[in-house]
Symmetry: C2
Subunit: 431 residues, 2 copies
């Protein structure tokens, strides 16, 4: 990579600037129009699961319990799809229900219902507490933070570490403040860092003392089976089973777990599940029974048949991994080639999930994203991975390698590295 | 038919009682187990639309706007399905959005969001008003009433007339009480009476003065295309277009209209729409964007292709009418043969929808349903068509002729008539 900018003398910096400006001109001349903003699967992944579209015959509409999936009924989802999710999560099918898309919808509903009705163990609806707050491990998932912001919570940022949220801080906060009603988590291949929570982190979350008796962990197991490498646990083995951990610790109602097949098959057209204690499930069902008679059971049945045909979800996910692994590795390679030892950027090398998270030298993120945008490459906005879009050190950028073609991806990441270097070199001037 | 019970002398009553008791014994001996409680389509109707299951090929996943229905995106639904609903409702596709199942889900969300955030034109979330109230035309749809009961509204019963809710009463109530935030309506083939609102009723709803500036009509057009007879308007012609009426009256934001394809294709697996002013749609989208990225567009596309193949929704509904018309006519025939001029029951003869509503002589409904249950025939619970399950005259029973086989239906209605007669004759004794 050559010298760090910090070690260059004035002439060297000038030469480097000239080199970068020439490259910028080249890129500008190409008139790029690339979108790297969101974690959507690419068409290569979607094509892999296309037989879901035609998996059902006209005679195939009965669930194993005899109910006609074409008609009303069955609030909890058909038994077969509940078992499919149970296998993914390593729990009993009785501990989960399956609804339509999406896990986001379920999480929003959980929080809104907690606001309106309260949750088991609490003494009032959360909405009656104007000081209600939620812990937001960051960098994290912008849509999580947005739900609690929209619903009037104070968002308390907790830094992520290599083993999950900073648990010393979490424990101290929840023990001392009964207004803190919950924490957002993505325990496996966290969005965006790709971090897998350590066993200790899981255990401390399950056992910690909370001032709020109705504290809830939203356990968003979005990437539980989204491994990139064959040496990883096939299904749920990455972290301890959290429902059991919480129950053992005497807090059976603490955790609300969601998972989804949106990134197994078709985003928006796939089932999602809620896994929780019987008390929590009864609470949830007791409220949603007023808004729905039953989920889309035909869609659930189609997923069951599709997974049967493919020999199980682990096989399907291996197919996705074969598409995604080269993309992740290419991004990491370009980052290494352009930014390793530069002192300008650090990143994780995730073993699964949907993102690569880059931490730039503080103060560079916004400028980098802006410059890339001028060059026709849209990245997730700087700050998006922090509550209220406020990354205090203006450092984190989420790269989403799944959607573009590999050629586009290569170009986009090269442009990204170029922008980082240019912004770092011109930082003084720009300000 | 013979004499009315009221005109019989003691001997005649004795003879009649003996006749009915013999019949009851006959029925009891049959050990029936029939469920007539809910408005679900029967398998004959579902079979009619079975090609929906296989309508998409693996190559057929692009919307006309170029978006891949297999992926995230498009909060408002694909353009084709919006046009399909627009045709049904006789409005511009820009005035509606299409979501997943169900219209019930949309209505619940509308009310819960009004509770939490307030609606355009209001000065506070409805939830801040502990005296909030909702008008419930009755007999009406139990799930409507249940939503507002669950969400803490005072339910104010308004009697239904042959032309819709008693508008003198509605106008007086809403003009004098700002706590009344809305009214439930099923304008076409009302549940359960099968009444079509008159043009005057629609116009008065649109123009009436309301003390609440944020008053809303929930216009549940559940049966807009569910005609039983060929001489009826094909699509939305049964009532005036309510969005336009409200806009003309200077109240563009007053009405929130929903409709659904659940009883066109497969209940629970079909799209539903919200039609409203731009202000209301923007309000709704502004909130649901936090809970969903996009609806199930594959399901929407399948419905579009299915309707194309069948030459439009009116053709599909004619097929359903051919299944349902003989059932409705059989029920009405049995009612006439057994109860006409008896002084014990009156009923509507609906031209569409899903129900036949019978008003028994006051005080007979609960006893009739109980007796039928002892005989193995479950009807919708007495009172279910009234707010808080309280039918003040214990009179109304909702018959749902769609789900059972025709043989079962014939038996069930005969048993119903027998129970009405027996309860009427023994009423004095029973009490």
């Amino acid at each position: 990579m050559g010298k760090r900018y910090a070690d260059m003398n004035a002439d060297e910096r000038k030469a480097e600037l000239k080199r970068l400006e020439a490259k910028l001109e080249e890129v500008r001349a190409r008139g790029l129009k690339l979108n790297m903003t969101r974690g959507r699967p690419g068409s290569g992944q979607l094509d892999q699961v296309n037989d879901l579209i035609t998996i059902l015959s006209q005679e195939d509409h009965l669930s194993e319990d005899g109910s006609d999936c074409r008609n009303y009924g069955g609030l909890t989802g058909i038994p077969e799809i509940r078992r499919a999710f149970a296998e993914v999560l390593g729990i009993d099918a009785a501990n989960l229900i399956v609804q339509d898309n999406s896990s986001l919808n379920i999480m929003y509903t959980l929080i809104l219902h907690a606001l309106t009705f309260g949750v088991p163990g609490g003494d009032a609806p959360w909405g009656q507490n104007p000081k209600r707050a939620f812990l937001c491990p960051a960098p994290g998932y912008d849509r999580h933070f947005a739900i609690t912001e929209h619903l009037g919570f104070d968002l308390i940022t907790v830094p992520m570490t290599a083993t999950g949220p900073n648990m010393d801080m979490v424990e101290k906060l929840v023990a001392g403040n009964a207004n803190i009603k919950g924490i957002w988590t993505v325990p496996v291949y966290s969005n965006p860092d790709g971090i897998v929570y350590s066993e200790e982190t899981c255990r401390r979350l399950a056992t910690m003392k909370t001032a709020a008796p109705d504290f809830r962990i939203i356990w968003d197991n979005a990437y539980v089976v989204h491994h990139l490498y064959p040496d990883q646990p096939e299904l749920c083995g990455s972290v301890p089973e959290i429902l059991a951990l919480c129950a053992e610790a005497g807090h059976p109602d603490r955790v609300l777990q969601v998972a989804s097949f949106s990134k197994v098959t078709f985003p928006g057209s796939a089932p999602a599940c809620l896994a929780a204690s019987k008390t929590n499930l009864d609470w949830y069902l007791g409220h949603i029974q007023f808004r729905t008679i039953s989920p889309n059971k035909m869609m659930q049945l189609a997923h069951v048949r599709f997974l049967e045909k493919r020999g199980g979800i682990a096989n399907v996910m291996r197919g996705h991994a074969d598409v995604l692994r080269p993309r992740f590795e290419m991004v990491l390679k370009i980052l290494r080639e352009n930014l390793a030892d530069s002192g300008l950027a650090e990143w994780h090398e995730p073993k699964g999930g949907y993102f690569i998270s880059v931490n730039l030298r503080p103060g560079l993120a916004q400028a980098t994203v802006n410059l890339a945008k001028q060059l026709g490459v849209a990245f997730t906005p700087a700050g998006a991975t922090y509550p209220r879009n406020n990354d205090p050190s203006d450092s984190n950028i989420r790269l989403a390698p799944t959607l573009p073609t590999t050629d586009e991806l290569k170009t986009a990441i090269e442009v990204f590295c170029l922008c980082v270097r240019y912004c770092a070199l011109t930082e003084g001037n720009a300000k």
